[in-house]
C-alpha cells in the first residue's frame, strides 16, 4: 500500500492510537481490579471501593483454592469435557456441513431450513431434559456434549467455507479414484484449518463457560465442571442476605471476596492463554465462512 504521509494523516494516526489505547485501558481496568483483588487482603477489599494495586500481596486465596482438590478436579473435568466435546462438535459439524455445501445435492435446502428453524424455536427445558433422560445420558459427561453437538450457527459457518472451495480440486481427486470420504479427509479438511480453528474455539469457549447443563444433568458433585463451582461461589455471595439463610452461613460462610476473584481469574486465564494462538486463523476462518465476496 502507498503510505499517506500528509500532516492530517499523521495526526489521525496519533489520535487513533491514543484513542485505542484509552479504550483498551478502560476495558482492562475492571479486570485489573479483579486480579488485584485476588491478591489483596480482605481488609483492603472491604474498605476500599476500587483499586488496581494491592497494598500487600498475598497468595492466600490461591493457596486456599488449591488446598482442597475440588477446584483442581473440576478444572480437570472442564478441560476434559472441553477437549472431547470440541472434538465431537467438530466431527458432527464437519460431517453434516460437507454434504450441505454441495449445492446440487437433492434435499439440501429442506435440511438447511430444518436447521435454521431450530434457531428460532426450541422445545424448552423440560422436554429437552426428558429426551436426555430417555437416552440414558443422565449423570454422564455425554449429557454435556451430545445435546449440544452441533450449533446451527457454526454448522453454517463451516458449510459456507466448504462451499467456497474450488470444485475442481475435489473433482480431480474423485476422478483419481478417491471416495467422497477420502476427499473430505485428505483434501477438504487440510484446507479448512482456519475455519476449524475458529469454530473449534467457539465450541471450546462454549463448553468451558457452560454450567447449566451440568447443574441439570449431573447429580454427582464429583463430576461438576469448574463453572458450576465458580458460579456457586460467586452467586452465593450475591444472594447472601437477600435469600440468606444465615443458619447456613454459620457453617459455610460465603467465600471471601478475594477467593471469588481468584476463581474468576482462574476461569478466564485458560481462554486468554489459548486465544492468541488461534487468533490469526480465527479471523481468516470466520471471514471466509461468514462473508462471501
Amino acid at each position: 500500500m502507498i503510505r499517506d504521509t500528509s500532516m492530517g494523516s499523521r495526526i489521525f494516526d496519533t489520535l487513533n492510537i491514543l484513542f485505542l489505547s484509552a479504550f483498551a485501558l478502560l476495558t482492562v481496568l475492571p479486570f485489573l481490579y479483579i486480579i488485584a483483588g485476588s491478591f489483596a487482603s480482605e481488609k483492603q477489599l472491604a474498605t476500599e471501593a476500587f483499586f488496581v494495586i494491592p497494598k500487600e500481596v498475598s497468595l492466600d486465596s490461591y493457596r486456599y483454592i488449591l488446598s482442597s482438590n475440588t477446584i483442581p478436579r473440576s478444572a480437570l473435568v472442564s478441560i476434559g469435557v472441553t477437549l472431547f466435546g470440541t472434538f465431537v462438535n467438530l466431527f458432527f459439524t464437519v460431517t453434516m456441513a460437507y454434504p450441505l455445501s454441495k449445492k446440487r445435492l437433492p434435499g439440501r435446502n429442506g435440511i438447511i431450513n430444518m436447521v435454521i428453524f431450530t434457531m428460532i424455536f426450541s422445545g424448552g427445558l423440560i422436554p429437552t431434559f426428558l429426551v436426555v433422560k430417555g437416552m440414558g445420558l443422565l449423570d454422564r459427561y455425554a449429557s454435556l456434549i451430545l445435546p449440544i453437538a452441533i450449533s446451527p450457527f457454526n454448522l453454517i459457518v463451516v458449510k459456507s467455507f466448504f462451499q467456497e472451495m474450488p470444485e475442481e480440486l475435489e473433482e480431480s481427486a474423485i476422478i483419481d479414484g478417491c471416495s467422497r470420504y477420502g476427499v473430505l479427509w485428505r483434501i477438504v479438511l487440510p484446507l479448512s484449518m482456519p475455519v476449524l480453528a475458529a469454530v473449534g474455539l467457539f465450541y471450546a469457549v462454549g463448553h468451558w463457560n457452560s454450567f447449566f447443563s451440568a447443574l441439570i444433568y449431573l447429580s454427582s458433585p464429583k463430576k461438576w465442571p469448574l463453572q458450576v463451582i465458580l458460579r456457586q461461589m460467586v452467586m452465593l455471595a450475591q444472594f447472601t442476605a437477600a435469600n440468606m439463610d444465615s443458619f447456613d452461613s454459620d457453617f459455610v460462610r460465603p467465600p471471601e471476596q478475594s477467593i471469588k476473584m481468584a476463581v474468576i481469574v482462574l476461569s478466564v486465564v485458560p481462554i486468554l492463554f489459548v486465544y492468541p494462538f488461534i487468533q490469526r486463523h480465527f479471523t481468516k476462518g470466520v471471514m471466509i465462512g461468514a462473508i462471501k465476496g
Binding site: 489521525f12 479486570f31 460437507y98 435440511i111 428460532i120 453437538a149 450457527f153 461468514a290
Partner: protein, 336 residues
C-alpha cells in the same frame, strides 16, 4: 433460559451473519427443474454424502425436534407432576392472560426502547472500532489492542453488574467522587429511571464492542488491497478511501447484521437487566425476559412463560421478514 446458553457464547454478530448467508445461498439450480428420475439417480450417486449426514440429522431430530412438542404446553395448564399427557388443555388462556395484563404495554415499550437504543448506540461501536483498528499500521499494537478488548466478553455479567455498582454508587463510588469534584454534585445513577438505559447500554458497549469487531475485521481483511493502491494513485486520501472502499465493502455485513438484530428486538439480555433493576427504576427496567422470570419461572408457571416465549419468537420471525423486505427495496441483497 437455558437453551440460549448453548449458543449464547459468541456474539450475535458472527452467528447471525453466517445464518444469513445460509439462507441467501439457496441455489436456483435446486428448484424443481429436473425430472424426478434424474434426481433419484443423482441421490444414488451421492449416497456417501447422505451417509455422512446421518449423525447430524439424527442430532437435530432427537435433540432439537423431539423436544419441540414441549411448545404445546403454551396451550396447557402444565403441571410438571402430571406431565404433558395429563395436564389440562386451556386453549389460548395463557395468551389472553398475557395480553390483558396491565403491564403488557409497559413491558413492550421498555423492551423496544432498550433494543432501539442498543441499535443506535451499541450497534455502530464495533464497526467504528473495527474501522479504527483497520487503520492502525503497527501490527503488534493492533494485535495487542485486539486481545485486550476481547477480554470482557468472557467475564460473567454478575461480575460486570457488581463492578458497575462499585463504580457508580453515591456512597463513595469512583465516578461520583469525580463528579463531586468537578461539579459539586453527585448523581444517583443506579437509582434513577433516567440513567438506567444509559447504564445498560454502557455495560453492553464495554463488554461486547471488542468481541463484536471480529466479524467486521474479518470482512475488512478480505478487501482487495489493490483497490486502495489504485485509489491512492488517483489521489484519494485516507478518508476518501474509507468512504469509497472500506465502508462499501462491509455494507452488506452491516445490513445483514442489522436485519438480524431486528429479529431480536424483544430479546434483551435477562441477567444483565435483572441485576440492574431496583425499586426506583423498575418502570423503565422491566422487559419481556425479566417479566417472564418473575411471573413465570419464580412461581413455576411453565405454560405462561412458554406462551410468552412463543409470542416473542413469532414476532421475531415477522420482524426479520419485514426488515428483509425493506432492505431488498433499498437494493441490498437481503437474506432471501
Amino acid at each position: 433460559m437455558s437453551e440460549n446458553d448453548y449458543c449464547g457464547h459468541f456474539p450475535i454478530g458472527v452467528s447471525m451473519a453466517t445464518m444469513s448467508t445460509a439462507i441467501e445461498t439457496i441455489d436456483p439450480m435446486d428448484l424443481k427443474t429436473e425430472s424426478g428420475k434424474r434426481r433419484i439417480a443423482r441421490m444414488k450417486k451421492e449416497k456417501s454424502l447422505y451417509i455422512l449426514m446421518i449423525p447430524g440429522i439424527l442430532y437435530f431430530v432427537i435433540f432439537k425436534y423431539l423436544p419441540m412438542w414441549g411448545l404445546t404446553i403454551a396451550f396447557q395448564n402444565f403441571q410438571p407432576i402430571l406431565g404433558f399427557l395429563k395436564s389440562e388443555w386451556v386453549g389460548m388462556e395463557n395468551f389472553r392472560d398475557f395480553f390483558s395484563s396491565p403491564d403488557f404495554f409497559m413491558i413492550f415499550r421498555n423492551t423496544l426502547v432498550l433494543s432501539l437504543l442498543n441499535i443506535i448506540f451499541y450497534f455502530p461501536m464495533p464497526i467504528v472500532l473495527a474501522l479504527l483498528l483497520n487503520e492502525v499500521r503497527q501490527a503488534a499494537f493492533k494485535r495487542a489492542i485486539q486481545t485486550i478488548v476481547y477480554i470482557p466478553h468472557f467475564i460473567s455479567i454478575v461480575v460486570v453488574a457488581s463492578l458497575t455498582y462499585v463504580l457508580f454508587t453515591t456512597a463513595g463510588g469512583a465516578v461520583n467522587i469525580l463528579m463531586e469534584r468537578l461539579t459539586g454534585e453527585t448523581i444517583n445513577f443506579l437509582g434513577s429511571p433516567r440513567w438506567f438505559r444509559p447504564l445498560i447500554i454502557g455495560q453492553t458497549i464495554w463488554k461486547e464492542t471488542g468481541y463484536g469487531t471480529i466479524i467486521f475485521l474479518a470482512a475488512l481483511a478480505g478487501v482487495d488491497q489493490n483497490l486502495y493502491e489504485a485509489a491512492a494513485i488517483d489521489g484519494a486520501g485516507r478518508f476518501k478511501q474509507l468512504i469509497h472502499i472500506t465502508l462499501p465493502s462491509i455494507a452488506n455485513v452491516i445490513v445483514i447484521l442489522l436485519i438480524l438484530r431486528m429479529g431480536q428486538v424483544l430479546d434483551n439480555g435477562f441477567e444483565q437487566i435483572f441485576l440492574m433493576t431496583n425499586a426506583l427504576n423498575r418502570n423503565v427496567a422491566e422487559v419481556f425476559n425479566t417479566y417472564v422470570y418473575t411471573v413465570g419461572i419464580t412461581q413455576g408457571a411453565f405454560s405462561y412463560s412458554t406462551a410468552v416465549g412463543l409470542f416473542k419468537s413469532v414476532i421475531g420471525v415477522i420482524l426479520v421478514l419485514g426488515t428483509n423486505g425493506i432492505a431488498k427495496k433499498f437494493g441490498h441483497s437481503g437474506l432471501y
